[in-house]
C-alpha cells in the first residue's frame, strides 16, 4: 500500500545505481553537517544544558529515532507523514499511528528537484522532491501515507508529485478563516480525515483515545510554552538550541519529548536564578519570521546571527518550523467526540498565522502576533527570511514592515536559496543589521 507501482506522472525513472550513489554520498555529507551544526552550537554556550544531549541525538535524522520508528512499523504501526502544520496530529496519535513532518531541509537535493520542476519553484518543495527521488529522508520513506494541506501553490503540487510514490490525502484549507462557513467546511475536512485515518490504520478513534491524544498535546504545549517563556528575559539558552528543541518535536515521540523539554526548562530556571547568561544581556535580541527553516542544512541564518560580530541572539520566531508548532493549545469544553473534533478544527484553523490566509483585514492575525511578540520578548530587530520562490511570505513583507516601522522596530528582508554559496553575502547583511541594532544606542 505504501509504495505505488502505477506509472509515474511526474517523476523521472532514475536508475537504481544512481539513486544508491546519490543517497549514500548525500547521507554522508548530511551527517557531517548535522555534527558540525551541533559542534558549533556547543561552542556557542560553554555551559550548555545537560538536557541538550538528548536533543542532539534526536537531531540525527539518520539516528535512533529512525530505528525506533522502524521497530514500531515491524509491530504493525502505521506512519503518517505531513508537510504542513495543519495536519491534525492528535487524530494520528489517537489511531495509534506515528505522525512525522517530512519537509526537506537538505540543500543538495534541491538540485535533484530541478529535474522535475523549474528552479523558480520554492526550494523547500524542490528539495523535498529531490529527497524522495533518491529515498534520502528516513521519515518520508517510512511514511505509509501523507497528509497534504493545500496551503501554498508549492505544497499543492508537491502532493501530486509525491503521489507518484505514496498514498496522499489532501486537505482543503479555506483561505478566509474568520467566517462560520469556513469553519464548518474545515470541520468537515477534519471529520473526513478522521474516517480516512481510521480506515487506513484499521484502528477506531474512540472518544477515550482522542481525549488521551489531546491531553498529550496539552502537556507538550505546556512544556513548549515554558521554554519560549524562558527565552523572553535575559538569555539563558542560545536561540539555535531552543529552535532545535522545537523542531525535534516534529519527528520525536510526543510524550518523551515533553519530559525532556521539561527537564531542559528545569535546568534553564536554575540558570536564570544564578544569572548565568549565555551571552551578555545587552546582545541584540532578534526575532525571525518568514519561510520555514528545516534542519539540518537550512540552519545557516540562525548560525550566522549567533556567530556574527557583533553577535545577536534569536529569542523568538514566527515560523511554522518553530514557535508555531505548539504555541496554541486545543481548547476543549466537554470531552464529547463532537466537541473534541470541533475544538481541533478551531485550533488548527483559527490559531494559524500562515500567510496563506486572508480576510476582511488581510492576514491581520499574523501582524498582531508579531507585534505582540515584539513587546513580550523585548525584540530589538526582526529578520524577515524568505527563500526565492516563496511567494506568500515575500508578498506579506511590505505590510509587516509598515507595521513594525510604526513601532520603530527595524526589520530586514533577507532573501536566499537552498545553497551554501551565499553565506558570505548573507553574513555582510546580517552583520550590518546587527551593527545597526547596536548603533542605535552606540555610535
Amino acid at each position: 500500500m505504501s509504495q505505488k507501482t502505477a506509472e509515474k506522472k511526474f517523476m523521472p525513472d532514475v536508475p537504481r545505481k544512481e539513486i544508491e550513489e546519490l543517497k549514500n554520498s548525500i547521507t554522508a555529507a548530511s551527517q557531517k553537517i548535522i555534527a558540525d551544526n551541533i559542534d558549533r552550537m556547543k561552542k556557542a554556550d560553554p555551559h550548555r544544558p545537560e538536557a541538550m544531549k538528548y536533543f542532539d541525538e534526536m537531531a540525527n535524522l539518520f539516528g535512533p529515532r529512525q530505528k525506533e520508528i522502524a521497530a514500531e512499523k515491524e509491530k504493525g504501526k502505521k506512519v503518517i507523514g505531513y508537510m504542513c502544520l495543519f495536519a491534525p496530529t492528535e487524530l494520528i496519535l489517537a489511531a495509534d499511528a506515528i505522525p512525522v513532518r517530512v519537509n526537506s531541509g537538505w540543500y543538495d537535493t534541491s538540485k535533484l528537484g530541478d529535474r522535475v520542476v523549474p528552479v523558480e519553484v520554492c526550494p523547500v518543495i524542490r528539495s523535498t522532491i529531490g529527497a524522495k527521488m533518491i529515498e534520502l529522508s528516513p521519515f518520508l520513506e517510512q511514511s505509509d501515507a501523507l497528509i497534504s494541506v493545500l496551503t501554498c501553490d508549492g505544497m499543492t503540487k508537491l502532493a501530486e508529485i509525491l503521489g507518484d510514490y505514496k498514498t496522499i490525502w489532501g486537505m482543503n484549507i479555506p483561505r478566509i478563516k474568520d467566517t462560520t462557513q469556513s469553519l464548518r467546511f474545515w470541520s468537515d475536512e477534519i471529520k473526513h480525515m478522521k474516517t480516512q485515518i481510521e480506515n487506513f490504520t484499521g484502528n477506531k478513534i474512540t472518544r477515550k483515545k482522542l481525549k488521551q491524544a489531546i491531553e498529550t498535546s496539552h502537556k507538550a504545549t505546556k512544556a513548549f510554552r515554558r521554554l519560549q517563556d524562558l527565552r523572553k528575559g535575559s538569555p539563558v539558552i542560545m536561540g539555535r538550541d531552543a529552535m532545535l528543541v522545537n523542531q525535534t518535536y516534529l519527528w520525536d515521540d510526543k510524550k518523551r519529548w515533553t519530559e525532556k523539554t521539561e527537564a531542559l526548562c528545569d535546568e534553564l530556571e536554575k540558570r536564570l536564578q544564578q544569572q548565568d547568561w549565555v551571552c551578555p544581556p545587552d546582545t541584540p535580541r532578534v526575532m525571525v519570521t518568514g519561510t520555514p527553516m528545516f534542519w539540518p542544512d537550512n540552519w545557516k541564518l540562525p548560525t550566522l546571527v549567533e556567530e556574527a560580530s557583533p553577535q545577536g541572539i534569536i529569542v523568538a520566531d514566527e515560523l511554522c518550523s518553530g514557535e508555531r508548532i505548539l504555541n496554541d493549545p486545543i481548547g476543549v469544553d466537554e470531552w464529547s467526540m463532537d466537541d473534541m473534533l470541533n475544538s481541533i478544527s478551531e485550533r488548527y484553523l483559527m490559531a494559524s498565522t500562515c500567510p496563506c490566509f486572508t480576510s476582511k483585514d488581510g492576514n491581520e492575525d499574523r501582524v498582531n502576533w508579531l507585534l505582540n511578540k515584539v513587546k513580550e520578548a523585548n525584540i530589538q530587530g526582526v529578520i524577515y527570511y524568505v527563500v526565492r520562490g516563496c511567494m506568500l511570505y515575500a508578498m506579506e513583507y511590505t505590510r509587516v514592515k509598515k507595521a513594525l516601522d510604526k513601532i520603530n522596530v527595524p526589520v530586514y528582508y533577507l532573501d536566499t536559496e537552498y545553497t551554501r554559496e551565499d553565506v558570505g553575502q548573507m553574513k555582510t547583511r546580517v552583520e550590518a543589521f546587527l551593527e545597526m541594532l547596536t548603533a542605535r544606542v552606540d555610535f
Partner: protein, 261 residues
C-alpha cells in the same frame, strides 16, 4: 587623532587616512587574488602620501566585502554603516545614501548623526551594479568609461530587461540586431539599471537629501538615468568611490575616543 579606514571591495581596496577630522590621504590598489596584501600596499601608499608611519595611527577600521581579511584592523564596520557615517560628514543634510559599486547596489537611510536607520541591498544579482555596465560595454565594443558620455548622446529610450546580467546581455544583442544606435543602447543599459536601483529605493522610502556614492557615481550616464527615474537631482560628493574607506576612518576615530576614555 589619526585613524585609517580600509574598504576591501570586490575589485579595489581603498584606504583613507583622517587626521583630526580632515582627510589627509587616499589610496587605491586592485584587490586581485590577495586582498590582504593589496590592503597593506594601499595603507603603505597612503602613509607615504601623508608622511606618516604605522605607529602614528591610533585606530584602524575596515569595511567592504572582504572586511575580515583586512590587515591591522582594530575594529570593523558594515558597508552600510560606513556609507551613512561618511555621507553625513561630506553632505550634512544627507538622509538617503545610494551606493552603487561593482557587484552591489544598496541604499541606506540615516539620521542627522550618520547612524544608519534602515538599509536595502540588491540581493543575489549584479544587474543593478557596475559589473552590468562592464558586461554591456563589451557587447557594444566600447570602453567602460566611454559608455556614459555615449548614453548622453541618445535621442530616445529603448527599454531592455535588466532582471539579470545574462538576460540583459541577450536583450542588448537583440537591440544590436534591430540596428539601434550605440548611444541609444547605452542609454537603455543605464535606464534599466536605474530602474532596478530606484525600485529598490522605493521599497525603503526616500528621505531627502539623496546622496549618490560608490564607483558608479562617477558615471554620467548612470547619474542622468537615475535622476530622470527618481525625478530629483542626487548630490554626488567629491571622491565618491572612497566613501566606504572614509566612513571606516571616521568610525575608527569615534572608537578610538571611546577606548581612550
Amino acid at each position: 587623532m589619526i585613524t585609517v579606514g580600509m574598504d576591501l571591495g570586490t575589485q579595489r581596496v581603498q584606504v583613507v587616512i583622517v587626521k583630526d577630522g580632515e582627510v589627509v590621504a587616499r589610496a587605491t590598489v586592485f584587490s586581485g587574488f590577495d586582498p590582504t596584501k593589496a590592503a597593506e600596499q594601499a595603507v603603505d601608499e597612503a602613509l607615504k602620501q601623508a608622511n606618516l608611519k604605522l605607529s602614528d595611527i591610533n585606530h584602524f577600521s575596515s569595511t567592504g566585502s572582504a572586511v575580515d581579511m583586512a590587515p591591522y584592523a582594530n575594529s570593523k564596520v558594515s558597508m552600510m554603516g560606513a556609507d551613512a557615517k561618511a555621507a553625513v560628514y561630506l553632505v550634512p543634510k544627507a538622509r538617503t545614501i545610494i551606493d552603487v559599486g561593482a557587484e552591489e547596489a544598496r541604499a541606506v537611510k540615516c539620521d542627522e548623526k550618520g547612524v544608519m536607520m534602515d538599509f536595502v541591498v540588491n540581493e543575489r544579482c549584479a544587474a543593478g551594479a557596475g559589473a552590468f555596465i562592464e558586461a554591456m560595454a563589451r557587447a557594444l565594443e566600447v570602453k567602460t568609461e566611454d559608455m556614459g558620455p555615449l548614453a548622453l548622446k541618445a535621442e530616445r529610450a529603448s527599454p531592455i530587461n535588466a532582471s539579470c546580467v545574462i538576460f540583459g546581455e541577450s536583450d542588448v544583442v537583440s537591440l544590436i540586431h534591430r540596428q539601434e544606435s550605440k548611444p541609444e543602447i547605452a542609454r537603455a543599459v543605464y535606464d534599466a539599471m536605474a530602474d532596478r536601483v530606484s525600485s529598490m529605493i522605493h521599497r525603503l522610502g526616500i528621505n531627502p537629501e539623496v546622496v549618490l556614492v560608490g564607483g558608479v557615481a562617477k558615471d554620467p550616464g548612470f547619474v542622468a538615468s537615475l535622476n530622470r527615474k527618481l525625478g530629483l537631482s542626487v548630490t554626488i560628493p567629491e571622491f565618491p568611490e572612497y566613501i566606504g574607506a572614509l566612513g571606516a576612518a571616521l568610525v575608527a576615530a569615534t572608537r578610538a575616543k571611546e577606548t581612550s576614555k
